[in-house]
């Protein structure tokens, strides 16, 4: 098939094919990124403009004091994440991070269910001084104080 091409054109043809494929990959990537990127919500955002049920998102806020309950199966927990303005009930099955306690910050990965509870598939709690979820670190001091005061 290539024999039909004028020899001079082989380099150009290769270049064109490579460019088209790589450019195609970039376009596909951009399109997919617009559609699939998961977003970070604080409780007031999640209540005001809830994401589609089932869409993968992150929810970050404070675990309200007195809201943490373990179900009889011993591995499922219910708790409420608040930011001083809104509250979102969360359910999670699994081993909770060690520093996950009432009144501390948490980022929950998962999705909102149709009934308004957040089904978490993973919890990121503040691990240690050197490693904490970025979203938590960036909650303003005022927000933290407010949420802690609220929780108390």
């Amino acid at each position: 098939m290539n024999a039909a091409l004028k020899p001079k054109h082989q380099r150009l043809a290769l270049l064109a094919v490579a460019l088209v494929v790589v450019f195609g990959a970039v376009l596909l990537a951009m399109w997919a990124l617009r559609n699939q990127a998961s977003y970070f919500y604080v409780p007031s955002d999640m209540v005001a403009t809830p994401p589609e049920p089932g869409q993968a998102v992150r929810l970050g806020g404070m675990v309200e004091a007195g809201s943490l309950r373990t179900r009889p199966d011993g591995v499922t927990v219910d708790f409420v994440v608040g930011d001083g303005e809104a509250r979102v009930p969360v359910v999670f099955s699994g081993i909770v991070p060690d520093l996950f306690v009432e009144g501390s910050g948490v980022v929950a990965e998962g999705s909102l269910r149709a009934d308004g509870t957040f089904l978490a598939t993973n919890l990121l709690a503040k691990h240690d001084e050197n490693y904490m979820p970025r979203e938590l670190e960036e909650m303003t001091a005022a927000q933290k104080r407010e949420t802690i005061a609220e929780a108390e």
Binding site: A18, A25, A32, F40, H127, Y131
Partner: protein, 646 residues
Amino acid sequence: MIAELGLAALWLAAALAGLQLIAGALGLREGGAGMAALVRPAAVVQALLCALAFGVLLLLFVRTDLSVALVARNSHSDKPLIFKLAGTWGNHEGSMLLWVSVMALAGGLIAFLERRLPERTMIATLGAQAFVAVGFYAFLLASSNPFERLPVPAAEGMGLNPLLQDVGLAFHPPTLYVGYVGLSVAFSFAVGALLTRQVTPDFAKVMRPWVLGAWIFLTLGITAGSYWAYYELGWGGWWFWDPVENASLMPWLAATALLHSASVLASRDALRAWTIMLGVVAFSMSMIGTFLVRSGILTSVHAFAVDPERGSFILVLLAIYIGGALLLFAIRAGTIAEGERFSILSREGALVVNNVALSAILGIVLLGTLYPLLTEAFGVRVSVGPPYFNPVGAVFFLPMLGVLAIGPLLRWRRDSFERIQPSVVAIAVVGVAVLAGVYFLAGIALLPLLGMALAAAVAIGSVLPLRGRSLRRLPLPVWGMVVAHFGVAVALFGMAADTAFQQERLVAAQVGETVEDGPWSITLVSVEPVAGPNWTALEATLHARYKGGEPSVVQPQARSFWTPPQETSEAALLTRWNGQLYSVIGGEAEGGRWQLRLWWKPFVTWIWYGGVLIALGGLLALVGRLAGDLKRRSAQAQIAARRAAP
């Protein structure tokens, strides 16, 4: 005193890199032979000084010299020796010193060993290597001095992140760094060849062992990092598309493409400009990776200290080196003469497909990794994960695997479909049979299903080139190709099998209770406190029986470290040839029960066996190439000796 010795050696090495750069630049001009003669010795001495500086830092960590700020922040006198050593590079400053040391050693080695290329190209190459090194020395000395003293020595060190206190992990950063920075040699060769317009098969032959070496280390580093994340984080996953993982995957993708295009250039004198371009891209990806990991833009166990000044410094270096090299490429690419032609249906054609697909995947990973940073600049918080990377990457990865199964069967330059038809039919039949068989027996999701079928096709395709050849006389590089491609099939099968068939159980169990997970029945025998050198733990003892066989003991722990205070979960693994039982103990639940998380992960270990096979294939090819070079060298020496003799 000894810390000052290290610092002095580092300053001297930086000065020599400056000398090497200036001498290289002047030496390229007409009549610059005097200056050019300085370049090689400067590179060798620079390497020795840098090695000395790194040796000094190692010694400071071994002695736990708490008058040095870096040691006080990252070490502790209680730590076992191996982790004191690992502490040297388990922090920002030490790891950057390791980076420049590897770079200086690589430069010193090419200066000392490499005599095949025209001397002008070598001078330009070593000048380019020094140009890159100078920037990183400046970074190290200006904003990350590892030898800084404390005004008052600390009473005790602050310790190393417990997640990093693991023997396997101790060698993960140096392995990756040798890979990352080894690619700087490819970058410098590419820049040198562009400067002197000497893009020849010899250039590819000289560059190839370096690329192979760097690629072997990258492969091992990624494989080890994946296994570490798998057992140390306690989440049971082996790849998270975490930006830090992507930072190591991107140079690997570029180096894999470079490896294949360099072999086209070396054997067939084609793909000249493309090989140069990949040489530039591969090391650029290493630098972007370093920037992502070290700048503090990403928060992870890898981001040791968040310091915006450091981030901007690396960003400026990146812009200069990547921008400069790409600009040089744009100016000179037109002057690179076209290489040999080939038909689309040929080994070259298949390798072009491999290169284009790898580049496309690289673009996809790069965009997915940078996109959250871009949107964050506009105040939108986004995280990109498997729902993006898996399907979008697969669009290019799966067809590439199809070509991988067939490509090695093709001849160089031109081939006919009739000749390879029987092999292609055999490969296709195996692939389709596996596809149909797995689909009807198990009915699994599309991606793992295609993964299994392609794994079978690649496995067959990778060994077919052995057919009809004398196995004893087969050159080592061909063995390398076969082993590495077979490794791809093995790893792919592991990934597909684990994704499709893993079985998870999450329970709160009483002591004495038995839990079923897939073919396993697991009894919780006891939970006891245990103590280690710098931690205490709760340890569960489990008796696991596979299909009712003899019980094996597994003991997962929940550990508490005290320097620094942190809890980690030590998963316990039970390995069989066909997979692993993965167990984690959580907290205590009501009624004296203990949380247990159990996974049966069929064939998951094949992922890492595959990674090791891929690296082994690279090693075989490297040994074959080096042995060939040595043989050629001694033959040439003999001819020269005979000519010299009367």
